[in-house]
C-alpha cells in the first residue's frame, strides 16, 4: 500500500496466512525460505503473490469491495455528468450562504445541502466539479505513468543487460527525489508564471505532466520486476525457440501476464495522485483556486478552519473515501487476477 503522502511507492507484500489446507507445511513438505532480502524482493513479492497465497476460497467479492465499487461509480458518474446536473455555478458567489455549514447545523443555508465556502460558493457543486477536475488530473497522470513507465519496465525487464542498466538507472534517479518535491519543482517550472516573458503551460496541464512523470518510476519498477520474472518462464523460452520476434513475445506472451500487477498498481496510483494533488495544493502548486479541486478547496479553506471547518473537511472526506475505495479495489484486483500465478 502506498503511504498517503504523494509518494507512490508500493511497499506491502501481502504474504500468506497459514491456510487450513496445509496445516503443517514444515512436515509435509520442506519449504525452506532461503530468500535473499533486498528491495527487489519487496517488489517481487508485491508483484508475484506466489503459491503460498491463500487459495481462492471466497467466490465473488466481499461487501467491502462492492461498497468501494459503488463509491467509485458514484464519484466518477457525478464527475462525468457534472455539466448536465442541476448544480449551481461553482465559481459564482451567493453571499447569503457564505461560511454556512452543511444541513446538520442550525442556521444553514436552505437549498444548499453542504453549505457554502467563504466566498459564498455552493459546496456541493464545488465538490462535484472539484471531483471532476481532481479525477481527471489523477487519471491522466496515471495513464502517462502507465504507458511510459510500462514501456520502460517492459524493455528493461525483458531485454535485461545494458538496456536494463539504463532503465534501472533512470528509474533510480527519479526515485532518488521524493515524488512530492519533484512534482512541486516540475509544476513550478512548467506552468505559466504571471509577469514573465510568456511560455509555460496551463496549470492543469502542468499538474498532469508533473504527476504523470512522477508516477513513471513506480509503474516502471513494478512492470520491470514483473516482466523480469515472467520473462524467465518456460513459455517465453519456448516462444523464442520457435523463432518468435521480441516484439511479438512482449505483446502476446509477457504483457498479458504483467498487466494484472500493473492494473492493481495503477489503481493505487490514482489514489496516490489524488493525495499528491492535495499536498501540492496546500503548497500552492495546484490549479488556480477559482477552478475547484478537492486539494485546492482544502488549501484555501485552511484559513477558515476555525470558523467554518466544513469547507476543509468536506473535500477532505471526499479524498479519504475515494482513496479508501481505490485502495480496496486495487487490493481486490491484485488478489483476484493473481490466482493464475498461484496455480503455478
Amino acid at each position: 500500500m502506498p503511504a498517503p503522502d504523494g509518494d507512490p511507492m508500493p511497499d506491502d507484500p501481502t504474504r500468506a496466512e497459514p491456510t487450513r489446507a496445509d496445516p503443517m507445511p514444515g512436515l509435509v513438505g520442506e519449504a525452506t525460505r532461503g530468500r535473499p532480502i533486498d528491495a527487489g524482493t519487496i517488489e517481487m513479492a508485491a508483484v508475484e503473490t506466489g503459491p503460498e497465497v491463500r487459495r481462492l476460497r471466497k467466490k465473488g467479492l466481499g461487501i467491502a469491495a462492492w461498497l468501494s465499487i459503488g463509491w467509485i461509480a458514484l464519484v466518477v458518474g457525478l464527475a462525468i455528468l457534472a455539466p448536465v446536473l442541476p448544480l449551481d455555478d461553482p465559481k459564482a458567489s451567493i453571499t447569503d450562504i457564505a461560511r454556512r455549514g452543511p444541513f446538520a447545523d442550525a442556521g444553514s443555508a436552505p437549498g444548499h445541502l453542504l453549505g457554502g465556502d467563504f466566498n459564498g460558493r455552493d459546496m456541493l457543486s464545488r465538490l462535484i466539479w472539484g471531483g471532476r477536475t481532481t479525477l481527471l488530473v489523477a487519471t491522466s497522470a496515471v495513464i502517462i505513468g502507465f504507458v511510459l513507465g510500462g514501456i520502460l519496465g517492459l524493455l528493461g525487464g525483458y531485454f535485461r543487460g545494458k538496456v536494463d542498466v539504463v532503465v534501472s538507472l533512470l528509474l533510480d534517479v527519479f526515485l532518488a527525489i521524493p515524488a512530492v518535491i519533484l512534482a512541486l519543482a516540475l509544476v513550478t517550472i512548467l506552468r505559466t508564471q504571471p509577469g514573465t516573458s510568456g511560455g509555460g503551460l496551463d496549470p492543469e496541464v502542468a499538474l498532469i505532466l508533473a504527476l504523470g512523470l512522477v508516477s513513471i518510476p513506480v509503474l516502471g519498477r513494478i512492470t520491470r520486476a514483473s516482466t523480469l520474472s515472467w520473462s524467465q518462464r518456460e513459455f517465453v523460452l519456448a516462444a523464442r525457440a520457435q523463432g518468435a520476434k521480441h516484439r511479438r513475445i512482449l505483446w502476446r506472451e509477457v504483457l498479458p501476464n504483467v498487466l494484472p500487477a500493473m492494473m492493481s498498481i495503477a489503481l493505487l496510483g490514482i489514489a496516490v495522485a489524488i493525495v499528491s494533488e492535495g499536498t501540492l495544493a496546500i503548497l500552492g502548486a495546484s490549479v488556480e483556486t477559482d477552478t475547484p479541486t478537492w486539494g485546492n478547496m482544502i488549501a484555501i479553506g485552511r484559513i477558515n478552519l476555525q470558523r467554518a471547518p466544513h469547507i476543509v473537511f468536506e473535500p477532505a472526506l471526499m479524498i479519504f473515501f475515494t482513496v479508501l475505495a481505490l485502495n480496496m479495489l486495487g487490493d481486490v484486483v491484485r488478489s483476484k487476477l493473481d490466482v493464475r500465478e498461484g496455480a503455478l
Binding site: 498517503p4 504523494g6 506491502d12 496466512e17 527525489i177 510568456g198 503548497l283 479524498i319
Partner: protein, 330 residues
C-alpha cells in the same frame, strides 16, 4: 568488499544524475529565469544574475561550477531577501530532520508491538479489526490528519481541556539537533510540545504500513522450523515472539523504514506548512511562492543527496543485522 565498492559506484552515479536533473530544472524553465527570480530588478541586475548563475554559459561547465559550490557549502541565495541559502538551511534542516525522526520513532514504537500482536493472533477478531483500522489509516493523507488534529486540538479542545488542549498547533521551539548544525537550541519541553502533533500526523500513515509489513513477515517466520524447535525447548510464547521471531522478520521493515525517508519528506512538507514549522518543507513552499528557482534547485539537490545517502546506510545496516548476508557477501 567488491560489493560495497559497486554499491558506492552506483551511489555516486545516482547522486550525479539526480543533482544534474535538479540543476537542469532551472534550464528547463520556459522563459527568462531572471524575470522569475528577480521580477523587480533592473536590467543590469538581471544581467548580473544571468552571469552569476551562468545561464549564458555552456551547460556542463556551469553544472560543474555549481556542483563545486555545493560541495563547498555555497548553496546560492534567496534573491528576494538576499539571504544565503546555507544560512536558511542551518536553522531549517535540523527542524525537518527532528520531525522525520520523531515520526519514524513514534511509528515504530506503535507498529512493532501491533505487528507482533496481530501476527501472534493472526486470523482472530482482534487481528481483523486492527487490520481494518490500518487499512483505513492508509487512506488518510497526512495533511488531512494534520488539519483534523489542528482543528480538534486547536479549536475544539483548546484551551479548556488540560494537557491535550494545551498542545500548540502552530509555531516551533528549537530542540537538540540544532546544536549539531550550529543553530541555537531551545527549551526541550516546549520543543516536544510543538513537534507532537506534526509527528503524529506524519506517523499515522507509517504505522499502518509498518504494522502490516511486520505482521506478514512474522506470520511467515512463525511457520519456520526453528520456531517449533524453540517451543520444544520450553520457551514461553513471549520469549519466542520477541527474541526468536522478531529479528529475522524485521529486515523488510528496516528497508521500508529507510526508503520511507523519501515519503516522509513529501508528507513533511505539507505538515510543516500546516503547523507552521520552519523546516525545509516551509522553505520550499516559500521558495516556490517567491519563485526563487536558484534556491529551489539547491533544496532539491540536498534532498536527493540525503535520500541516497540514507539508503546506502540502510543497506550497510543490513549486513550487520543478518549474518547470512555477511557470509554471502564475503
Amino acid at each position: 568488499m567488491g560489493l560495497i565498492a559497486r554499491r558506492l559506484a552506483q551511489l555516486v552515479v545516482v547522486v550525479i544524475l539526480s543533482t544534474l536533473f535538479a540543476f537542469a530544472l532551472l534550464r528547463l524553465f520556459p522563459g527568462d529565469a531572471a524575470d522569475a527570480v528577480i521580477p523587480y530588478g533592473t536590467a543590469a541586475q538581471k544581467a548580473k544574475f544571468r552571469a552569476d548563475t551562468g545561464l549564458d554559459q555552456p551547460f556542463f561547465q556551469q553544472y560543474a561550477t555549481w556542483l563545486g559550490n555545493l560541495a563547498q557549502g555555497d548553496f546560492g541565495k534567496d534573491y528576494q531577501s538576499n539571504t544565503p541559502v546555507a544560512d536558511k538551511l542551518q536553522t531549517a534542516l535540523p527542524v525537518s530532520l527532528q520531525l522525520m525522526l520523531y515520526a519514524q520513532i513514534m511509528a515504530l514504537v506503535v507498529a512493532i508491538p501491533l505487528g507482533v500482536l496481530t501476527a501472534y493472533r493472526a486470523g482472530t477478531k482482534s487481528d481483523r479489526a486492527i487490520n481494518a483500522g490500518a487499512f483505513a489509516l492508509l487512506a488518510l493523507p497526512s495533511f488531512v490528519l494534520a488539519l483534523a488534529l489542528a482543528y480538534w486540538v486547536g479549536v475544539k479542545w483548546h484551551p479548556d481541556i488540560p494537557l491535550l488542549g494545551q498542545v500548540p498547533v502552530s509555531g516551533y521551539e528549537p530542540g537538540w539537533l540544532e546544536a549539531v548544525f550550529g543553530a541555537p537550541t531551545g527549551d526541550l519541553g516546549k520543543h516536544f510540545a510543538t513537534m507532537l502533533l506534526p509527528s503524529v500526523a506524519l506517523a499515522a500513515g507509517l504505522v499502518a504500513v509498518y504494522m502490516r509489513l511486520l505482521r506478514s513477515d512474522m506470520i511467515a517466520t512463525l511457520q519456520e522450523n526453528y520456531i517449533t524447535m524453540a517451543r520444544s525447548k520450553g520457551l514461553s510464547d513471549g520469549h519466542i515472539l520477541w527474541r526468536h521471531a522478531l529479528r529475522p522478520s524485521s529486515l523488510t521493515l528496516l528497508t521500508v523504514a529507510g526508503l520511507n525517508f523519501g515519503t516522509l519528506v513529501g508528507g513533511a512538507v505539507a505538515v510543516e506548512v500546516i503547523f507552521q514549522i520552519p523546516g525545509i518543507g516551509t522553505l520550499i513552499y516559500q521558495a516556490i511562492n517567491a519563485r526563487q528557482l536558484v534556491e529551489l534547485q539547491s533544496y532539491i539537490a540536498i534532498i536527493a543527496i540525503g535520500y541516497v545517502l540514507i539508503n546506502f546506510v540502510i543497506d550497510a545496516l543490513y549486513v550487520v543485522l543478518d549474518p547470512r548476508i555477511r557470509r554471502a557477501r564475503a
